[in-house]
Symmetry: C2
Subunit: 153 residues, 2 copies
């Protein structure tokens, strides 16, 4: 069942190519394993758990161990290709990998789809709120639960 009308294969491919390019620029190593994990994260196109990645990664070969997946995910998060959704213990591909940032998300409680908001204004408001309360700002997690447009119709 297609939730979004888009060419999903192309969408994955674009993400992989972008990651590849960024890693070349940064001289970090986009190894086959890391590439494969990023691909699996994008394949689901919804928050995916580390153990789901693990299962998919293990298909048709010897089962990989959790650290393999977690290390790959750590790298991808570090590079900004993947975000972690704290409230779901899950991971999603980043829609704007070129700029490192912490993601702000809306999570549909019906269909589980996640939308990343890259809104400068929202980020600024949050940062300002922190500073007004005496905190220096490092980063922030924002996860909004609600019902998406599709599911309301």
């Amino acid at each position: 069942m297609l939730k979004h009308k888009h060419d999903h294969d192309a969408c994955i491919e674009t993400a992989l190519e972008a990651a590849q390019k960024i890693c070349e620029e940064r001289e970090t190593r986009f190894t086959p394993l890391r590439r494969r994990v990023l691909e699996l994260v994008w394949t689901k196109h919804e928050p995916i758990t580390a153990y789901e990645v693990l299962d998919m990664l293990s298909e048709g070969q010897k089962r990989v161990a959790p650290p393999t997946v977690y290390r790959a995910l750590d790298f991808l998060i570090e590079e900004g290709f993947v975000h972690r959704i704290e409230s779901l213990n899950s991971f999603v591909g980043c829609s704007d990998p070129a700029h490192k940032h912490q993601g702000h998300f809306m999570i549909c409680t019906k269909c589980s789809n996640v939308t990343e908001m890259n809104e400068r204004s929202l980020h600024d408001v949050i940062k300002k709120a922190a500073e007004e309360n005496g905190y220096s700002y490092e980063n922030s997690i924002l996860e909004i639960a609600g019902i998406c447009e599709n599911c309301r119709n």
Copy 2:
């Protein structure tokens, strides 16, 4: 080492009394176990994990099992006396238990202290952002990491 200059015992006592009163109003049961768990959460006055609560609860008596703690925490969260900090898998006492709400937090990455922000304006901005992106708003998690005023001095 005291981090805040306040009478911590009084602060715990206030929280317990408030909870008691609210439960009477709502006709929900503020049992000895639930009271004790809330007390332990407030005693630490920093995010506390379920298993820390479990250990403290077990002191000087037969060890309690995880469900005992999780159920009490579930109740306290449901009533709005405790918030869960997703990014830390931990729990903190709510500073405004009289009004049910989802908490917005600042977390000091040095001293681990947590400050709850009950700012209407921030809440409104977040809700508006969600709606502008086509989501109905249910609730939201905001956890800002930074360094608190104390730790910067």
